[in-house]
Amino acid sequence: MNQLEIRDLWASIDGETILKGVNLVVPKGQVHALMGPNGAGKSTLGKILAGDPEYTVERGDILLDGESILDLSPDERARKGLFLAFQYPVEVPGVTIANFLRLALQAKLGREVGVAEFWTKVKKALEVLDWDESYLSRHLNEGFSGGEKKRNEILQLLVLEPAYAVLDETDSGLDIDALKVVARGVNAMRGPNFGALVITHYQRLLNYIVPDRVHVMMDGRIVAEGGPELALELEAKGYEWLRERVKEEA
């Protein structure tokens, strides 16, 4: 099964249950959107997929190409091809992007990566993002603006070429030009060997990254699914409309 599958996932933090039975499948080769109001649990899902030890999974499973990854550490998951672009990328002073990215690539590929090979890859990614080489010698996210941090996440995505990526609000806080750059990065990855779950609060990003499917999360559950038109409908009618509809259905 070439897909990222989330099966009846229940999870909590500090004793509070946040995810309450999430079911969601992203087949390889497709880009799905995950939408939902603030506090719905979208970031929680992203972090749990990446293996954030802060959260406790109470029930359910996460399957990567048919194999459970629940017992794997964050780095093992990453090496299996999962990537999370953080909503709030972490600042790591004293570690340059170049150094970090090369180590990450080596970890991913399980072998030494020569300087030449590394630079070829990074340069291509920088071109897609219209970013200056000088960023590579900057410390990881240290003193970066919100937009720079997001671009840096996409840089890592392009260099590491994961099989599945979760992008958590990579659009938030970006002006339209930066948004286009980010979309260009994700679209550059699109293809039969790449699946993505694009988390966003707004439909704006989806004008540039047109999703194959849209899932909507509320209060820790997926409450609606549909094609790209669902995003437009949500944008027009608001989450309250959906909340009402969910209530009626219940």
Binding site: D75, V90, V92, G94, Q156
Partner: protein
């Protein structure tokens, strides 16, 4: 069984064919040693330190007159010689100077770089003028060293001679017996040199190691000094150093503690003349049961002096580190700049750091700052790095190196820096 008494002091002095004045000094030090008691937790400067397992009162090793060819040097030293910045070096195995390589052109210009015993024969006046000026009987261990030391290195740089490449001393501890040695560095007016002392050993049975470094910097002299210990487990390393900086003299000092079971560094810079400057860097990374003590003194005696101290360290497992730094400004020390910072990274809940910065200010027109931070490794940073495929240990290694980077980056000796980075990497993984 030998004891630490007068008979032994006399035996050492006789075996080394020392002049009478030195024996007298040794015997005075012995008196202090006998009078002083071993420190305990009741002493303020030892309150964090447990010496109950230290091999105190261990018999002191005796020189054997061993000498080796370069090929016969211990592996530990050979490996270091493959990657080092030094242009000339001395190798001690235990108390014996077994090998020396000093560039001919430097000797021709009047530079002296040899064992203390040899220098006492060839340049007795220079040794007598400086020995014990920096370290003598300040405490029990200093007194023990002064009374019982069996070997040492001596560097003399004549006025105006500028030596760019560093000179090195590699000392290999053999273990089982106490080892007491010294470094005496004497730079005349406007002389310039760099001196690296490295202490190496395999893992050893409990072994006492006493080292003392004295630096005398005449006006305008510039010295870069590094004390680096990567000793094996089992070694209890007591190091004391004091630099005397006259007018416009400058010291760039580095103290590195990575090895041993216990290591204590008492590091003082005495700014005795206007314009004197001292940069004091410290680097440490403890694992297992290692315990590192750092007691530093920035002593501003004269006006227009400057000191800048940065000690950074990390501890993991059950390791402990102590930093206690004092900036002391005498009444005449106006227009002084004194900075002190200590930053610690804690990698495990059972590791511990105590950091005590202190100021004693007798002058008012000064610029003085000090600060200390001690924090656990940031779990968010670890998770972020791991989420990109880096193993937890590699992620920790990156964070430790990043933490220590400001000190590492201030070491212009490239090969030494690379060596330290390699040792740090290794330590993260064990």
């Amino acid at each position: 069984m030998q004891v630490l008494d007068k008979t032994q002091v006399e035996a050492i002095s006789r075996a080394l064919k020392e002049p009478g004045w030195l024996l007298e000094k040794r015997l005075k030090a012995l008196e202090a040693f006998a009078r002083l008691s071993y420190p305990s937790k009741k002493d303020e400067a030892w309150r964090y330190t447990d010496l109950s397992e230290a091999p105190l009162e261990q018999e002191v090793e005796t020189p054997k007159g061993l000498s080796l060819s370069r090929d016969e040097l211990p592996e530990l030293v050979k490996r270091r010689l493959e990657k080092t910045d030094v242009s000339g070096f001395l190798v001690f195995v235990g108390p014996d100077l077994v090998y020396a390589e000093v560039p001919e052109e430097l000797s021709a210009k009047g530079l002296v770089f040899t064992s203390l015993a040899e220098a006492l024969k060839t340049h007795p006046g220079k040794v007598e003028a400086t020995l014990f000026r920096g370290v003598y009987v300040e405490d029990k261990f200093a007194a023990e060293n002064s009374a019982f030391f069996t070997h040492g290195a001596f560097l003399y740089v004549p006025a105006g001679l500028e030596v760019e490449k560093p000179l090195g001393v590699f000392k290999v501890l053999e273990g089982g017996k106490a080892s007491a040695g010294r470094s005496l560095i004497f730079l005349e007016d406007n002389a310039k040199a760099a001196y690296i002392e490295e202490y190496l050993s395999l893992d050893l049975p409990p072994t006492l190691h006493l080292s003392a470094t004295e630096m005398v910097l005449r006006p305008g002299a510039r010295l870069r000094h590094a004390h680096v210990q990567t000793l094996g487990d089992g070694v209890w390393h007591f190091h004391r150093q004091r630099a005397l900086l006259e007018r416009d003299a400058a010291l760039n000092d580095l103290v590195v503690n990575l090895g041993g079971r216990y290591a204590r560094s008492e590091v003082a810079s005495e700014l005795l003349g206007p314009g004197a400057e001292s940069e004091m860097l410290g680097l440490y990374f403890g694992h297992g049961l290692q315990h590192f003590d750092h007691y530093t003194l920035q002593h501003h005696v004269e006006h227009h002096t400057r000191s800048d101290l940065l000690y950074k360290g990390a501890v993991k497992d059950e390791a402990r580190a102590v930093f206690s730094g004092l900036i002391k400004l005498e009444r005449g020390a106006q227009k002084t700049d004194a900075y002190q910072a200590n930053r610690n990274l804690i990698l495990s809940p059972t590791a511990r750091v105590d950091s005590i910065p202190q100021l004693e200010i007798g002058a008012n027109d000064v610029r003085c700052t000090h600060g200390s931070t001690t924090a656990p490794v940031d779990e968010m940073q670890l998770f972020y790095l791991q989420s990109r495929g880096l193993s937890r240990s590699l992620a920790q290694e990156l964070l430790v190196k990043a933490h220590l980077a400001d000190v590492l980056n201030r070491i212009p000796l490239k090969a030494l820096r690379a060596h330290l980075e390699a040792v740090i990497e290794e330590k993260v993984r064990i």
